[in-house]
Subunit: 406 residues, 4 copies
């Protein structure tokens, strides 16, 4: 049935003027980074449910991640979190990753789990704490050099719980100071990706509250500093794809932390609560990918697509496969947008026509296309099914309970 | 200065037609219950900061709570959480409380920290899990009988993380089934207070999502079931005082879990982010307290005022003193509303006059009034200062780190 | 290509255990009511853009609505708004509708455009204003009897702008009083659909703020009173499909006012901002439609599906065709859910499996199915295209500018 | 009573280390601009209630505004809106204002009420429409030169209603193009204040959606471009005072449009829904006003405080007096913050102490202080009472109904 489905799909899309060869090529080029912490246990403030079979160390996390890449073919790198993934010998971890067909991706400093950071890390009123935090940032740059990572993903859980608790402007200056010191330590081909978040549990104010604050920091730091968009870090009602388009236009969109949410920073599987939002994000990206301006096109080519989720109740590896597939699915749909048709309707002031031209692409079932692409790459047509039919999920149960968590 | 301040305050209020004797009487009658868990360590999913001096067992929690009552005079009862406050002999705990001048307040079952509850407690698809959860509810009724508690505060962290994960209507039926079984076990003078919450970290749907669902359950269960309003459990933009007025009018407002928030369920100190909202809640309550209908007046008299907060970074005992004082302050301000004046403006369609009559009461400084009331009760004028000047905070440092937490 | 597409679709769905004959039957039974006011001009407080060709009277509105039904086949009734659609002779309007193949649908009273209603209609402190408002409700019942309408859709723009402006509980009592008087005037086969809305521009409190308040009114009024869910009338983050499931379970879901929104009550075309939410609403409805309890099944059969939108910038008739098609599309997708598969995963605690079983249905392209259904009904495969190719849109330009608006 | 109240207040504040002479001086220096459109009728999309006595032309609006200044002494300028306040001879309007003791304040272009602007003004895909819109901006610069206005307040109701409707990045470029042309036309002492708004009724995306977009435009335009913060233009949960502090630190906070809201852009009287937020905004401003950096201090001195409200149901002049008084009240409270005390607590990591030091200032009743200041300035102690006791409100009833509106 699949073959006939693809033939039909091909005819259908060709009739719409879509170049499927190019679409396939773009699908094959898509790379989605998974996070090492997504394979471990996580929870809420109320409870972390411990799962049997969760990896017990960074090496096992990479083994699990390799499964995601094995079946999907598009998850070749893994972000690490320091100190959760601290090892004595990063060369050994790197070799382990490479043996599994993986690369070490972005390095994520952790500035929220030391007692000293209770009132802030790089924004702490105590200079000694700021020094410690900045040293950790520098340590992560060093680690990135060892692991061959291009990107440092920076999320700060810095903020205040009450009005008056901290001096907002001083904290801003201290944050910049730390980032500037870190920036200087970067190799020329490395990037700092500055993440923002509007709210944090129990926070009155977050030091990096929105894209504007992250962008402003990046502007001041220099061209190697860019903004990282975590899709769950916005207030309700915010148009995330607008921010994406804006940052691309300013050539400061470093990448994404993908996830989904219903209310706050829920870190649910990307594409499960509002798949259309994910599609519309890719619409903005692909619109820019076809820009007349080569510098915009080149900027788009460097966007890092990363998953950042906490699987509180889900089986970890299948949850990650589902995440990767959901991103791929919405990307595939967005590739079916006929931008000339949209543009034509926009120029004619045809509101309904333009809306339809975008939404129509979303409504196609891209399963035949994805099956064809996977087949061409020697991958299973249905990666989830293939994984579930393998013995891996059962084998790792021997690891027992109480693996890595945060 | 205080005396002159009170004399002036008295003249000012008498000129407005406020009966200060009655106001003082109402202030003396205010009772605010503090939660045992507010004295222990708590945190976010990212980190629980451990404080030196945190109580190590339920008995020490009551000792700390006694300090709050000692200095404020209005916090004579303490809510307990089972199993966090599980003891072999509740008679002993009760005697300990009474020796400290305290009572054991509401009993709070905990249905979110057992591994079996990962996919729900009383709403779990597995009948055995529902049985276990219901048995815990019944156990808490038994405990309440032993502790002499009138109220059972019921908060369920039941919900689903993804569309399709659970059958919403079946879960509703299971929830009712458990509550009905519990209801039957109550003594005639006991109450079930059903709490609701619109969102929960990582939730797609919460089984008891809003006041309407809690109210509907209460209606079906019978007159001993009422609704518990946690001020931080609403979506942004919701008018909480409207819900309060509505539930009073239906005689189903069992009580409050007070706290404050900036974005989600932040459990910050009540009255620190939006004090006017707290004042407006009391405006609705006091408006009903003067109702012509005696059954409304009597209903209002039974509302339980409870704090429910998590002090992640704050010193625990002072945080609780601040909470109790903030509730008292806004209650005192609301007592200065001249309801006849408001009503008169309402009847004349005088929008600005009615608004002003309410807001003006908020703008008074009630410090002289509170000082006078405390003096009459033999309490320190400034409870926070008095506590901080005592040696208690230093003495408990001997408990060390690693006390009770959740 | 269409035929082959349908053959393939059929094989695919049969392999999943979906009974396509039944699906088609359900699709043919779907009826969506369009609102007369959706054909006229509307705007924001800033500006109403007047379109050429907008209907000048109720008769022309029905002519435009007939176009929507002609091409989609599923929009056979039109809701009216009094006094916007006030005519001397409702028999004449009814005959006109019937000649066009239409029925007059729900009657919507208007209680927000008279000067007297500035401080409330049925909740006004002035008894004379309440009388006037209640009389209008009774007038609408009379009109419904003349037009043969089953439903009265009740939306009240009643609320207060400032704290203290009105007595919330008195207003509640007055609202009930008016509804109770109206209820008594209903024929036994008529229904009152009570709409709620959490916020209103410039409102501090809305008298019917949420489903719980509408439901409570309905409970007190009697079985002919049900709740009307307008999808845009909730605070951000609210799970609307949960409310839908809840009301069905209580057999009090009267119907929907469909539309979509990004931030507030935007009245955008349904299915354009968050199509998955619409699908998930239908998932809940169809889950109940297969309930073992016949009274639930019968309740679901009476849900009224109505559009309620304001087309500020869109061409009116195409906007309505798009709306009807979007509802049909998501309903068709929801019909492809294999409920047994979902239920099986739910019972096994397979979170990812259950989520996938629901989402997978959403990802199918139902175009071949809809084309087949339309062909069987003698309708154009692509209703929008057929309408745009007709001369109707051009012909009505002769009406000029300045038609009906609100 | 007032004198004794002030004596007591003085002692109390002196004991806290507050320099009341300086406080009074700062209070006397506060200037709040009222908007000409706040004196006319306004409404929602549903209804504009027409009031008797509303000004019929710009000249009468200034007469009403003069009443607000006469009684409060701190509202000496009036913002105008073009074309609502278009007159043949701006010299004449200016002279009229000056005769009334007023100045013409900010000039506000209107780019949302022409039919051509349906799909955008300066962001319209049609170059001719953009030209027209830009010409209007230039016209407003010319008017500002005639009226002697320093500031041009720029709010654009530009955005799209649906995904795909417009090209977000092209619109960004067009917006910049228009602003850049306008910027060149400014005199060296003039400023462009760029307003942003996260949502707009029926909008999917707003071209200037947040402070970051406005700030970025300002950065590119040059030092005469600054950001205008309208307090009601943020998503729920956003910390506005953080944005204020951030913009001050970047020396790009041009001014405020003050108002309050419960849910969306409600344009309610400032300080009526959440007075503490207004106080906290002033806390940030006053913190910066005492900065060691003279350029920060000087920047703070140039912030424009403007009201921007729509009084749908309120009596217009009293509503404006209330607004001005509410701003003054919260400013006065913020002036009582002992910044050294706050800073000391911050440095010691005393969360509760710092919070208390800020909140305590809010809890003082500043009535005695304001009375004293007004007395020193020859103003009535209670401006609202004085106005209501005057005959002005009755005299203007002769204007009849149907005055200026939008």
């Amino acid at each position: 049935m699949t073959d006939r489905a693809y033939v039909l799909f091909e005819e259908q899309q060709q009739a719409r003027g879509i170049n499927l060869d190019q679409v396939k090529q773009q699908l094959k080029a898509l790379k989605i980074e998974t996070p090492s912490w997504g394979y471990g246990d996580s929870g809420t403030r109320f409870k972390t449910f411990q799962k049997v079979g969760v990896p017990r160390d960074p090496f096992e996390k990479f083994e699990d991640a390799a499964q995601v890449h094995k079946y999907t073919g598009i998850a070749p790198s893994v972000a690490i979190h320091i100190p959760w993934d601290k090892v004595d010998d990063y060369g050994k971890l790197r070799a382990h990753a490479e043996n599994l067909g993986l690369k070490i991706g972005a390095v994520n400093p952790n500035l929220f789990q030391e007692d000293e950071y209770m009132l802030g890390s790089v924004t702490n009123a105590d200079a000694a704490v700021r020094r410690k935090a900045t040293d950790h940032l520098l340590e992560c740059v060093d680690i990135a050099k060892e692991t061959g990572s291009r990107d440092l993903s920076l999320w700060f859980a810095d903020g205040t719980n009450y009005p008056g608790q901290g001096d907002i402007r001083k904290r801003k200056a201290w944050l910049y100071e730390a980032l500037a010191e870190m920036y200087k330590a970067l190799n020329p081909d490395m990037r700092m990706l500055i993440e923002y978040k509007t709210f944090e549990p129990a926070f009155y104010h977050t030091d990096l509250a929105d894209w504007g604050m992250a962008y402003n920091m990046a502007l001041k730091l220099g061209p190697q500093a860019e903004v990282l968009v975590d899709t769950g870090h916005h207030a309700q009602g915010i148009n995330v794809e607008h921010i994406v388009a804006y940052l691309i236009d300013e050539k400061r969109l470093g990448g994404f932390h993908f996830n989904n949410r219903k209310y706050a920073d829920d870190d649910l599987i990307v594409g499960t609560i509002n798949p259309y939002e994910l599609f519309l994000i890719f619409y903005q990206i692909l619109n820019a990918a076809g820009d007349a301006d080569a510098s915009i096109r080149s900027h788009v080519g460097n966007i890092a697509y990363m998953i950042d989720q906490s699987h509180n109740i889900e089986a970890k590896i299948p949850a990650m496969i589902r995440s990767v597939l959901n991103v791929q699915t919405q990307y595939a749909k967005a590739l079916l947008i006929n931008h000339a048709e949209v543009q034509d309707a926009q120029e004619r002031g045809d509101v309904l026509g333009a809306e339809d031209a975008v939404r129509r692409a979303f409504e196609f079932d891209v399963t035949p296309l994805l099956h064809a692409v996977r087949e061409e790459q020697g991958l299973p047509a249905d990666p989830m099914k293939a994984y579930l039919e393998s013995s891996y999920g059962r084998d790792i149960l021997a690891r027992g309970k109480g693996g890595a968590s945060w």
